[in-house]
């Protein structure tokens, strides 16, 4: 037992788990990080990162075999041949869709920190106050001021490039030099500013790609191949950032192939004493013990671990006493917006492939905006670029002239897509489906959720507001689109173990501690009380660092 005893256990090695491991080990705690999947070593295991496009036999496309093997991943862009090994093998880890839910998972060291979109935004004071103000779900137990210093802490280490734009709904942070807009984006941004004054802005995306070197990391080389893994370490991932820092302390043990099956709960102390795992390769069971457990397995799997734990005390699992565990599942809905053609920039082009775009922060339901028939709002992401060889050329069909025309860039186009807040609905939930087992004989999740009227109304504005702004900016042939959205597609699962002020209506308190076992902290998307419309990973980083600080202080005081 002694060799299986640590000061802290971290479940999961993605964005949140990596941060927990870094902070715990730097504060001197002997920590084991348990990852259910294989190891992927920084740089060495990014096997496709330096390939040219023509070195992929299907040029990055998808084969019929892949379509057959990945019935979920095939539903959107992630299924492709360039980073297929970063996505979960679906036949090993099935789940039940009571309603369609697109769950795009990465089971390996680093989790989805390897493939994430890297857009990094703070939630704002109004986001933390929104539930209280609107009478929706429960109030956040923390306010922006509680998290602000921790946002600064994680931004400085992760390396976020962006401008300080001075917007109330999108607080500034500790940014590296921003990337540049291109000429068309600058033009559109200026026209939006001129028309809407202080009520709407189009800003440069804030992104976890560094523009200035950090220790062990080179600034972004503008290859735009981030999701293959970056040999320059130019974007934040567990591998490029938190893992090396944790390893450097000498306090970290990383154990891949470790599927945590339950948290071991001690009825006498009312605390967790450790976890049980199955070794994914040998199917052997092991126990690990620690004073504190950080659950960072991603929103759905963190809830799964809790549901599987202490079931002799609570039928619904550890943290289920409120009746909210597994409920309030949220995502961000997107894939609706507008695009148009920019004329007058034929003498301009771009050099380099910028792994970033523009951002239009939320402007709906903010003072100065018109009345909306829904709560909350959405921001836009997008970019302008010149069309490539895939375009139609009206007057040409085949032959030398056609080919030579396609060898030149086409017209400039700009497209924007809304990313909208999803409200926390109690009935949007996950449960254990004990009738179905995964490769290791473990019960799987059943997912039952959908967007509702508030989100559907918002999607109309994503199209209409987008069209209006692009037209005001002078774009031509502006068209709108709604390419359809199913929950999960945003890959921003949140809310399944929400924070709150009352143990009767929430799973976690304001320090991310499980009310029913205070030495268990949940600091990934599961903790979110509301979703905001901002990309959420930066918030998980900040919450995790804050929770570790709390846990270590509480340990010293002997409170946990």
């Amino acid at each position: 037992m002694a060799e299986n005893t640590y000061d802290a256990i971290v479940i999961g090695s993605g964005i949140s788990g990596g941060w927990a491991a870094k902070e715990l080990t730097e504060k001197g705690l002997k920590t084991i990080m348990l990852e259910r999947g294989e190891n992927i070593e920084h740089i060495k295991d990014y096997v496709n990162a330096n390939k040219h496009p023509w070195e992929f036999p299907h040029r990055g496309g998808r084969t019929q075999d892949m379509i057959k093997d990945y019935p979920v991943l095939r539903r959107d862009y992630p299924l492709n041949e360039t980073n297929l090994n970063y996505w979960t093998v679906e036949k090993d880890s099935p789940y039940t869709e009571i309603k369609r839910f697109d769950w795009f998972r990465g089971y390996h060291v680093g989790g989805r920190s390897l493939m994430w979109g890297r857009q990094s935004y703070r939630l704002s004071p109004m986001d933390f106050e929104a539930n209280l103000k609107d009478g929706v779900a429960v109030d956040w137990p923390i306010r922006y001021e509680d998290l602000a210093p921790w946002y600064s802490h994680v931004e400085k280490f992760a390396g976020i490039s962006g401008n300080r734009d001075g917007l109330a709904q999108l607080p500034d942070g500790e940014f590296q030099k921003a990337m540049d807009m291109n000429v068309v984006e600058k033009h559109v941004s200026a026209r939006i500013k001129a028309h809407y004054k202080e009520h709407r802005d189009m800003i440069m995306g804030r992104v976890a790609n560094i523009t200035e070197p950090l220790p062990g990391r080179t600034n972004c080389q503008y290859r735009n191949k981030c999701w293959l893994g970056c040999p320059f370490g130019a974007y934040f991932s567990t591998q490029s950032s938190t893992l090396p820092a944790a390893v450097a302390t000498g306090n970290l043990t990383l154990r891949p192939f470790s599927i945590v099956t339950k948290i071991l709960y001690d009825k006498d102390t009312k605390k967790a004493k450790g976890v049980e795992i199955i070794d994914a390769e040998t199917n052997q069971t092991y126990e690990y013990f620690a004073k504190v457990v950080f659950v960072c397995a991603s929103a759905l799997n963190s809830a799964w671990v809790l549901m599987n734990s202490a079931t002799d005390v609570w039928e619904g699992g550890l943290g289920s006493s409120s009746g909210e565990l597994g409920h309030n599942l949220m995502d961000h809905h997107f894939r609706a917006g507008a695009s148009g053609v920019a004329e007058g920039f034929d003498d301009k082009y771009t050099y380099g492939r910028r792994a970033n775009g523009i951002y239009i922060p939320r402007f709906q339901n903010i003072p100065g905006d018109r009345k909306r028939n829904y709560l909350r709002g959405f921001g836009y992401q997008g970019s302008a670029s010149r069309e490539g060889w895939g375009r139609e050329i009206a007057e040409l069909s085949i032959g030398g002239e056609f080919k030579d025309a396609l060898c030149e860039p086409g017209q400039w186009r700009m497209g924007i897509t809304g990313f909208g807040e999803t409200l926390p609905y109690h009935e949007n939930k996950i449960t254990l489906d004990k009738s179905k087992k995964d490769k290791w004989g473990l019960p799987v999740l059943a997912i039952d959720c959908e967007i509702k009227e508030n989100e559907m109304k918002m999607r109309k504005d994503m199209m209409e507001d987008g069209k209006e702004m692009l037209e005001i900016a002078g774009l031509k042939n502006v068209s709108t689109y709604d390419a359809g959205y199913t929950m999960g597609m945003g890959i921003h699962e949140m809310g399944t173990a929400r924070m709150g002020r009352d143990p009767k209506t929430s799973v976690l308190n304001g320090n991310n501690q499980v009310w029913d076992a205070t030495n268990v902290y949940v600091t990934d998307g599961a903790a979110m009380t509301s979703a905001g419309c901002q990309n959420p990973s930066l918030t998980y980083m900040a919450m995790t660092a804050r929770a570790v600080d709390h846990a270590v202080k509480e340990l010293k005081k002997g409170n946990i």
């Binding site: 040219h52 496009p53 023509w54 036999p57 299907h58 040029r59 990055g60 496309g61 998808r62 084969t63 019929q64 075999d65 379509i67 057959k68 959107d76 862009y77 979109g117 291109n182 000429v183 984006e185 080389q221 503008y222 290859r223 735009n224 981030c226 695009s339 034929d346 003498d347 082009y349 771009t350 050099y351 492939r353 910028r354 792994a355 970033n356 992401q381 997008g382 970019s383 490539g388 060889w389 895939g390 375009r391 139609e392 069909s397 085949i398 032959g399 030398g400 056609f402 080919k403 030579d404 396609l406 060898c407 030149e408 860039p409 186009r413 497209g415 897509t417 689109y481 390419a483 359809g484």
Partner: protein
């Protein structure tokens, strides 16, 4: 292609046309779950040689190399074998036969026997046919076989080493971003 690129492709696809997007994204269509052929060569060497010539007619050598130099025939062999559904494989294979018959009827000889000018004339008509068909078809209906041939040729050529580095411009590691980069008519497009 990450999410940002995928979103752009979707928005452009719905607002206009993008060649070959169906090979990367499922836009409103659900391919057959049946398994396509995968082992071995799908086309014989004669057919691959024919596809090279057909590709060259669509994207010929000009001041830069053409589709044949990029070995698009072999590329099509791999793509049709691995990425096409059995239904689309059938349409493509049958389409090659139909074009052969049509060519003999119109030109009095096979495609391989035609001169470059005759091939161009024949394919110009074929392209008009596919455009008319593609505009009138419902989303559930399959693509026209000539559309498939054209898409595969373009994808195979412009993403090949020859296409990317000789016909287009390619820089593996740009190292910087310039969003105000000068352009004059005739400058090549970036490959990626």
């Amino acid at each position: 292609m990450d999410r940002r690129e995928a979103i752009t492709k979707v928005s452009w696809l719905l607002g206009g046309t993008i060649i070959g997007a169906n090979l990367f994204l499922e836009i409103g269509c659900t391919p057959s779950p049946e398994k396509a052929a995968s082992a071995g060569s799908f086309f014989n060497t004669d057919t691959i040689a024919l596809l090279d010539e057909m590709g060259e007619t669509i994207l010929p050598a000009t001041s830069t190399p053409g589709a044949k130099a990029a070995k698009v025939g072999e590329f099509m062999n791999v793509m049709v074998r691995d990425c096409y559904t059995p239904r689309d494989q059938g349409i493509f294979r049958e389409g090659l036969e139909r074009m052969d018959e049509q060519c003999k009827k119109e030109q009095g000889k096979s495609f391989m026997e035609c001169s470059a000018a005759e091939r161009t004339a024949f394919f110009t008509k074929m392209d008009a046919k596919q455009k008319a068909y593609m505009e009138s078809k419902s989303p559930e209906q399959p693509s026209h076989y000539f559309r498939m041939l054209k898409e595969l040729t373009m994808l195979g050529f412009f993403t090949s080493e020859v296409g990317a580095t000789k016909a287009l411009r390619y820089v593996a590691i740009p190292g910087k971003y310039d969003g105000d980069y000068p352009y004059k008519k005739g400058d090549k497009a970036w490959a990626t």
